[in-house]
């Protein structure tokens, strides 16, 4: 990512890169054992104290008031080493963005006493509720709404205090978002769902029975808020994928310079150079594409939304291919846990599904152009 001349952005760039190297890289393999190993609470709290979680929240709400570029720079750096923390930040930011686009910022004021765990908002960030209908129904009652039904793959549902849940209001078209307290006795949570990637950004399935919830924004406004959030957050997902790509390329490049086969460094076999060149090209293109799209988004240039979505679609697909090669260049060791390559391969495929079914995102992209 290209942080440009913005001083604050450069600081964020450096801070997040250092954090990734110091806090994430050494324990990457350990942290990835979750749910069969401990959760990395301490790292999460440290990241929270560095304000990685409230970057895009307006200053009036106690955030840093930065644009999408700042979030992307941070995610890009973190995900080079370990994308799980990136997944947590992404999910929380997605919840915040939905609340902001719904004009519900009053629900979002972090306090000095907050910790990551008390302020995180769980969100089904791999699903677009406009595509796969929510299985939760909201019923009006005197104090607000009661939710009943089930949510699959609620990201952070096992560790956060609150959740943003899409639900259909009985008898009304479309869907709406509701904020609810996850400690409500009507909520049953599953064990963490064993998943492909981002193991330390866990999800659970939940069932709700008459759970009190606060409507966010207008009734039936869910799709509108989701799309407003997604326009920006597509770039954040792309930045995660690009970080994973960069990490995979760097690891492969270093390995190929050190490993010998056939009496020479394997980087000197021209087929290896060819694959490495393809990887490097994709990394560069991803960096440029996201940087430009971020600029466009933060300046609200005309047509910034399709740029953001195009960047997401291209970069996430490229990351899946690139990380496959990233393992391949290391041969057998690339398949093992000792290097980060296998994790990046899994994480890239996981990130591609953020915000919904990858193929449906393509359909949406062209349909938006048709309008």
């Amino acid at each position: 990512m290209i942080p440009g001349q913005d001083k604050e952005l450069r600081l964020l760039d450096r801070a997040s890169a250092e954090f990734a190297k110091k806090e994430l890289r050494p324990a990457r393999e350990e942290n990835d054992k979750y749910p069969f190993g401990p959760f990395f609470d301490a790292v999460l709290e440290k990241a929270y104290s560095l304000d990685f979680f409230n970057l895009m929240l307006p200053e009036a709400q106690g955030g840093m008031g930065r644009g999408i570029q700042s979030l992307c720079v941070i995610l890009y750096n973190l995900c080079q080493e370990d994308a799980s923390l990136g997944g947590i930040i992404f999910t929380h930011a997605a919840s915040q963005q939905v609340l902001l686009s719904a004009g519900a910022e009053s629900l979002l004021k972090p306090t000095a006493a907050d910790t990551a765990k008390t302020s995180l908002i769980a969100f089904p960030s791999f699903n677009n509720p406009g595509e796969v209908e929510p299985a939760v129904t909201a019923y009006k009652n005197s104090g607000g709404h009661l939710l009943s039904g089930s949510v699959e793959y609620l990201v952070l549902g096992g560790i956060a205090a609150k959740a943003l849940i899409p639900a259909r209001i009985e008898g009304k078209p479309g869907y709406s978002f509701f904020l609810t307290d996850l400690s409500h006795p009507g909520i049953q949570k599953s064990q963490p769902v064993l998943s492909l990637g981002l193991h330390a950004c866990p999800a659970v399935d939940i069932t709700l029975q008459k759970v009190n919830a606060t409507l966010v924004g207008a009734e039936g406004g869910g799709d509108r808020y989701f799309n407003a959030m997604a326009d920006q957050m597509h770039l954040a997902a792309a930045a995660m994928a690009a970080g994973i790509m960069k990490g995979s390329f760097k690891e492969a490049f270093d390995y190929c310079k050190a490993r010998e086969q056939g009496g020479r460094k394997i980087i000197n076999w021209s087929e290896m150079k060819m694959i490495l060149a393809d990887m490097a090209l994709r990394v560069k293109c991803a960096e440029m594409m996201i940087s430009r799209a971020c600029l466009s988004a933060d300046r609200r240039e005309k047509g910034w939304e399709p740029c953001a979505r195009a960047a997401n679609l291209w970069v996430c697909a490229a990351a899946c291919g690139l990380t496959t090669d990233g393992i391949q260049l290391l041969g057998g060791v690339g398949y093992m846990k000792d290097f980060g390559q296998e994790k990046r391969f899994r994480d890239a495929a996981q990130v591609q599904s953020l915000l919904g079914i990858a193929r449906m995102k393509k359909i949406k992209f062209i349909e938006a152009m048709m309008r």
């Binding site: 699959e152 793959y153 086969q261 076999w269 087929e271 041969g331 057998g332 996981q350 599904s353 193929r359």
Partner: protein, 500 residues
């Protein structure tokens, strides 16, 4: 219109007819009963999938994530009970004598349900293929008898192949590279046998196997001319297991480190060495490469069959998802784009299958399957009661003359063109099918969104498992180069491989 000579000339001009139309040449020669046999094998595999593999595959994967030290003896015992470790051992050695091509169809079936479990069965046959490549009939008889006994006594006896070393993976798969590489597994000639020193890594089923076919070298400066193939039993003094790798996928199948420290292997367990190879018509170096071609031409088709299974498994999960899930208020299976994507995935797995079948045809016509696939031989072995066969051949197998005859037939009987054709097709099948396997997993994930990410929906496991197929049995890069070497370069004398 065209003379016989012209026909011969035109068909021998590249691309050669014989390199291209293997199925056409093979189909009329196939014993009819083989089709019935393959149908039976596929049905057995499906029954096994239904009663053993599917109910346990996800649980085993989860168990291994929770406790990487676990060894899946429970599954191996089940496979042993079902007779899978002797099913493809020839009847003269006490096995059930199913034809070798039927193994690939079996592997696709099991692979479509769980690649780790397919490997727990299939790698045993990689060991057996390496054992048989030396055509040392006496040792083959001994090891096969152990496997057969293991089935009868319900104490599974598996065979692994150990060739990869920490410093040499690609280099030990290609003789051209071996002498330039960093090979360290040393077999020193001593009175009465060899003294083995060195380490082998990533050995599938290592911790579970009773016998290991270990490839070592008498002169580390000249590995290509001093290859030694040894049978080493678990428990032999000087041989121990090291670490068990923590892999991304195929978690149910251990990959082991094998450590040899002054491990004495007596002559009666030396499968072949340079002295014995010097009796072949080709120079030792070429014979060593021929043995690699001989084994990998068959086993790479086997990996392609695993991959066809992976491609199919991913397709089946995506199809199930599409037929049950409503997207934008319509079943996904009724979105046109989804129909085209499913068709693409179907095509990918069908092409994977065709690639291994074609490669098997090459082996049936020109390679390791040739002998037992000739109609008279096939029916003779099929119809003669196993007891008679064993009685007839048992003492013969002990005679060094048998080893000599078989080696003459198998090794010297193969022409250079046949070696290249079988090996080239093995590589083609391997990298084509394994790339398509990964492709289908990615396509399934693109269609399934968050459902595809969950271990309980299987696709994510298939992706993790399938990635290995692009790496072992030679990386797909090495296999591309081997295809070039075998099927393209021979017509271009100016082409040199591994020497840029």
């Amino acid at each position: 219109m065209i003379s016989r000579r012209e026909i011969k000339t035109h068909l021998n001009t590249p691309p050669r007819f014989d390199d291209m139309f293997l199925s056409l040449m093979a189909a009329p020669r196939l014993p009819k009963a083989m089709v019935k046999e393959i149908r039976r094998v596929v049905a057995i595999a499906r029954k096994f999938n239904h009663s053993v593999v599917r109910p346990y595959a996800l649980e085993l994967d989860r168990k291994m994530q929770e406790n990487p030290g676990f060894l899946p003896w429970d599954f191996v015992e089940k496979a042993n009970e079902w007779g899978f470790y002797t099913m493809w051992i020839p009847k003269i050695f006490g096995g059930k004598g199913y034809s070798m091509p039927s193994l690939s169809y079996f592997m696709e079936e099991i692979g479509s349900a769980c690649l780790a479990m397919a490997n727990l069965i299939g790698v045993h046959y990689l060991g057996l293929a390496s054992l048989s490549a030396a055509w040392n009939m006496k040792i083959m008889k001994r090891l096969c008898a152990d496997v057969v006994d293991g089935e009868a006594s319900r104490t599974p006896c598996l065979i692994s192949l150990a060739i990869t070393e920490p410093g040499a993976g690609t280099d030990v798969e290609e003789i051209e590279l071996a002498d330039r590489g960093n090979i360290t597994c040393h077999a020193e000639r001593v009175a009465g046998g060899y003294k083995l020193n060195g380490t082998k890594i990533f050995i599938s089923n290592g911790h579970l196997s009773k016998w290991h076919i270990v490839i070592a070298y008498a002169d580390l400066k000249k590995p290509s001319e001093t290859t030694v193939s040894l049978a080493v039993k678990t428990g032999t003094p000087g041989f121990s297991f090291g670490r068990k790798e923590r892999k991304m996928g195929q978690k149910g199948c251990p990959a082991s480190e094998l450590i040899f420290k002054d491990c004495f292997v007596p002559d009666e367990l030396v499968l072949i060495d340079a002295d014995q190879m010097s009796g072949f018509k080709r120079p030792v170096r070429e014979s060593a490469m021929q043995m690699i071609h001989y084994v990998t031409a068959g086993t790479r088709a086997g990996v392609a069959a695993f991959a066809a299974g992976a491609a199919r498994g991913a397709f089946e999960e995506a199809l199930a998802f599409a037929s049950q899930t409503r997207v934008e208020d319509k079943l996904l299976i009724n979105h046109e784009w989804a129909q085209c994507l499913l068709a693409e995935m179907y095509k990918n797995y069908a092409l994977s299958r065709l690639s291994y079948i074609e490669s098997n045809y090459a082996n049936g016509l020109y390679g390791s399957f040739r002998e037992l696939q000739k109609k008279p031989m096939y029916y003779y072995y099929k119809l003669t009661p196993a007891g008679w066969l064993r009685k007839m051949f048992s003492s013969l197998m002990e005679k060094p003359a048998m080893t000599r005859i078989y080696r003459k037939m198998q090794m010297d009987g193969q022409t250079d063109a046949e070696i290249l054709r079988t090996s080239g097709w093995g590589s083609l099948a391997k990298f084509a099918a394994t790339d398509l396997g990964i492709k289908n997993c990615h396509l399934a994930l693109e269609m399934m969104g968050q459902a595809g990410l969950r271990q309980d929906r299987r696709v994510e496991k298939i992706l993790r498992d399938a990635k290995l197929l692009q790496i072992y049995e030679g990386t797909n890069q090495l296999n591309r180069l081997n295809l070039f070497n075998c099927l393209i370069a021979p017509d271009y004398p100016q082409a040199v491989v591994f020497d840029e």
